[in-house]
């Protein structure tokens, strides 16, 4: 697959035109046929995976279609993703660091969504899998920022219960029709939705993380965390050359 990160995901199809995956293409077509306008976009990593983006109103329908006619009755997970770039970066800046390095005034980065595109900040993820066909699909659905709610998958997958409770508490997304929306992990008085990107990792604020030294100044890298091209900096790992002269190599041959 392409390592060119500047290209948008939609153009990936052109790059990988040489590889084809007829099974997953057929699946994508099946989704498009069944859902009609509800199926917005799809993405295929040939030989590996399939993404389908559906409209919010087709969310349950897509799940039912996948679990029924397509035989993907094994619920892998239901989750969500917040595409907003984190305003806090890697949360390395404890107050002590600001004193030493000065504060990095961060520019808000552009919001870029992943495979199969996306228009909004929050996206739902559903992964289902067919145990007979050994093929899975990730279904995405955009959630408008002013109405973070989507229908529950409980009528289709009884096992979605805990997953959706987790989404509710971690992202603040309301699952319409879920009978038991209460905190799964967090204490009942907890405020905020920790998995949102604008929710700060408070532990990093109070105490600098000792692991900070590992990544800031590596001896060989001139400008760490800057814009070094990945390919130029390639080195052999130290252990690589040892492989041949270990004593077990003889036994293994």
């Amino acid at each position: 697959m392409s390592t060119d990160t500047t290209e948008h995901t939609e153009t990936n199809d052109e790059v990988e035109i040489v590889e084809t995956d007829t099974v997953r293409e057929a699946l994508a077509t099946a989704f498009a046929d069944h859902l009609g306008d509800g199926c917005i976009e799809s993405h295929i990593t040939p030989g590996s995976d399939l993404w389908i983006r559906v409209d919010r109103s087709s969310w349950v329908d897509a799940a039912r279609f996948a679990s029924g006619p397509l035989g993907m009755s094994w619920l892998d997970f239901v989750s969500a993703i917040d595409w907003m770039p984190s305003p806090f970066g890697r949360e390395m800046e404890a107050e002590q660091d600001w004193v030493v390095h000065g504060r990095d005034e961060r520019q808000p980065a552009e919001q870029v969504t992943g495979y199969a595109g996306g228009d909004t900040r929050f996206q739902m993820l559903l992964r289902v899998y067919s145990i007979d066909e050994h093929i899975g699909v990730t279904i995405k659905a955009d959630l408008p920022d002013d109405d973070l709610s989507i229908d529950t998958l409980l009528p289709v997958f009884a096992g979605a219960n805990w997953h959706e409770r987790e989404i509710w508490e971690m992202f603040g997304i309301t699952l319409t029709g879920h009978p038991d929306l209460r905190a799964l992990y967090l204490p009942s008085g907890f405020e905020g939705n920790p998995m949102r990107k604008d929710y700060p990792l408070v532990a990093r604020r109070v105490k600098p993380w000792p692991g900070i030294v590992d990544v800031e100044a590596m001896p060989a890298a001139d400008e760490p965390a800057a814009d070094e091209p990945a390919a130029d900096d390639t080195t052999d790992a130290d252990d690589t050359t040892d492989a041949d002269d270990t004593t077990d190599a003889g036994a293994s041959a």
């Binding site: 929710y199 990093r204 080195t235």
Partner: protein, 403 residues
Amino acid sequence: MTAELTLPADALANQDLANNAQLRYIASQAADSRINVELETEGMTLNIGPQHPATHGTLRIVAKLDGEQVIEAQPIMGYMHRGYEKLTEVRTYPQVTTLINRIDWVGSFANEVPFILAAEELMDVEAPPRAQWIRTALFEMGRIANIMLFLGDMAVQLGGITAVFYAFRDREFVLNQIESATGGRFHPNFNRIGGIKDDLPAGWIEETKSAMVKVREFCDEMEDLVVGNEIFQSRCRGVGVIPAELAKEYGLSGANLRGSGVDWDLRRDEPSPLAWSEIDWKVWTHPDGDSFSRYWVRLQETREASLMVEKLLDNLPAGPIMAKVPRIIKVPEGESYVQTENPLGAMGYYVVSKGELTPFRVKIRTASFSNMSITPWLLEGVYVPDIATILASLYFILGDIDR
């Protein structure tokens, strides 16, 4: 119910009707129901956990009981929630492996593998064959160490204390081998993107093979001591039956699904760079779907895994153990989902990268989370002792639920 039945009881006063045998029967039923109304008891709410021997960890189960019978049971977790999904967003890729080691802490090596594979897939890097084979061998040894704990623990949950001592004794042989190869008994942190940290130490292969023989001896011992025991069977057979279709709907995986007769193993069924497809082995299933079948499947899997390790070590290819990777690892933009058959079941990492040092989002799909989500359904109507049986047979690790 009482209202319906008091009417014939009143009619009993009429001597003519009293001769009617059917009415007499109804009247006696009505009398019984009156007694039952008097004796009607309120349900008792029993808090099992957060600290309770049956929950090995800090799981809490709120069970509403009618005598010894469970009317409703709700697991409550989060006592060990460590927010790994959030933490991974501020850790570099190599640092994440240290973290995710602690998810299923008794099978830690296996935790690292799917994440590393997902990152490798995004970077288009493939580890050299020798690294993949060593990974697979250590993966299976982690499985053995993990499931051996289960084999003893399930017996101790049912009151047979001796088995767990045997399990801990023999598990040590495997842990010692994992330690001598990786340096860590529980948290190897041995995987690197593009390979593994070190090659195997001298003499390790022979020692491991002899450890695998001991593992099989242990399995035979468990078969005699636990599986063959009539009391164990009567406690497990027919207890906690999970139908296959429901198991799929709840996303159950691993031995819990194979114990329900679903012949599905990610090691065999999904293409993986690891060496599972290179050797001969068998996927064990059991059609019953009860607690006994889950125990039985895990026992067979342990034996199978020990054979797999021997085969892997016999055919270990020579060569390097690290691919060429950048010193500072930046994973290109993309999304990748890799799932492997971990000791507890299917574990997957949905990695979203924005081309930076850290993942943008990592959704960690853990086996125990889905496996345990069926418990409210499963515990309904069972007896209190069966709670221990069912929880033990589903085999969860708290860190794997709470993440």
